[in-house]
Symmetry: C2
Subunit: 239 residues, 2 copies
DNA sequence: TTCTGCTATCCTGTATGACAGGTTGAGGCT
DNA sequence: AGCCTCAACCTGTCATACAGGATAGCAGAA
């Protein structure tokens, strides 16, 4: 009495895929929002006529796509958007040489010109302060590249958040992993302190333009910043 | 003799997460590229001292993130970049009202201005022909909105591919699902044939600028196109 | 009566064994 | 040499079992 399942037709991609579809459709029908609970694995197993194994693999898939969140002992919940969701994919593309670092920086340049302009228009006071704080912190820790990098990443992410469009945040977050791997290379290629100071000053200038509400200036400075960063990476021999 | 596993420390996130890390690191160490095979589930189960269950859930997660590809009977292989990888995440964000349609279009406007300019600079002859073909096909099927939409989607994706930066393709592809759901609304809001003709002409003009190699003109026309599309959605009451 | 602590219950994480069915390569037959 | 068959391997799914986290409800103490 193995297959009692002749009634539900599996798509050509197997039961797990069908189940993923069924669960997403169920979320849609029930109009579940972030934080809402999904049925338990056992319940879904009964309702969809598949084993708990299949439900679990479907859950894992949905969790990997950041549509739901799993935690032990508790039911699965609908997930909030997470800016880190896309990082693994981009890192994989770069590692397998399907994406070059320069291509990543070209996209960042395009996106962040816009986030800088939007941030200048839409930032809250708190967001303005946070952006400025990251920029000044970068200068303070001038001898600790690790800390400079963290504040640099925080700087760009804070600008994306201040642009008040979560899709931009998502995209900027997607590049954080790759940036973390390539940043030290670019930093080392800026040989003397003068070159390093130029980069730090640029960050401060961008923060200033955003805080003072000059979108065009913020965008232009951001473009300049990326031109300079890309140049530094080329000097270091990054393709 | 249940837990023989005291040697390998599980991270605080459970064995599946640790195993995902171990597998990605293994791919890195072995320098696996797209198409290369991973070890079998049984082998990994032995090597990593976890059950096949854990290996399978880790594989499902990696497959959901599009880092690997699974197929029955064959071993898992390292995946090529797939422009459709991000669609589910964006759709989820829109469905749960964490992202608005206008925010999606603002990002598309930003990105596709750039892809249009790059396409004008870098397109191959074949790519130019394909872009133009989509634009003219949209006019031919003027009475079949379904077909117009498909050629519209193909048009924008072809431009992204002609820009020769897979990250742009990835991002443009991410919005295909959402666009497919909102496109008909925008189309219906263009009441008379004159308004519809404007949109079709714009596509043809963009294709022309790309084929003739005018990046600035292509970008400007693309911006105009999105301004018009966003206006049409606002008229239709899309927030 | 209200607060506290314990327990029964539900739920997820992991392991194990079993079997159906797809895939592939090694031999053997023509 | 070319083709065919089959055994070995591999993934997909199911059933069952148990450890341990989470939680509500009940009982006892203040």
């Amino acid at each position: 009495m193995l297959y009692t399942n002749t009634s539900s037709q599996d798509g050509p991609e197997g039961r797990v895929s069908s189940t993923i579809g069924a669960i997403t459709q169920m979320m849609r029908s029930a109009d579940l929002g972030p934080g809402d609970q999904l049925p338990s694995e056992a319940t879904l197993s009964r309702d969809l006529n598949v084993s708990r194994t299949v439900i679990r693999e479907a859950f894992r898939s949905l969790a990997a796509m950041r549509l739901i969140e799993l935690s032990v002992g508790k039911r699965a919940t609908v997930a909030e958007l997470d800016y880190a969701a896309l990082s693994p994919l981009i890192e994989h593309g770069v590692r397998t040489e399907q994406i070059s670092v320069q291509q990543v920086y070209d996209v960042r340049r395009t996106i962040e010109q816009r986030t800088a302009a939007l941030a200048a228009l839409r930032r809250s006071d708190d967001q303005g302060r946070e952006i400025l704080a990251h920029a000044t912190a970068m200068k303070v820790h001038a001898d600790a590249p690790e800390k400079i990098m963290e504040h640099d990443l925080g700087f760009h992410l804070a600008i994306a958040k201040a642009a008040r469009n979560p899709v931009f945040t998502l995209i900027v977050g997607a590049f954080e992993g790759v940036t973390r791997q390539t940043w030290p290379i670019g930093w080392r290629s800026r040989k003397d302190q003068a070159e390093q100071a130029i980069m730090l000053d640029l960050h401060e200038a961008i923060a200033g333009a955003i805080v003072e509400g000059h979108p065009q200036r913020a965008a232009d400075l951001m473009a300049k910043h990326f031109d300079e960063s890309i140049r530094a990476l080329i000097v270091a021999g990054i393709s």
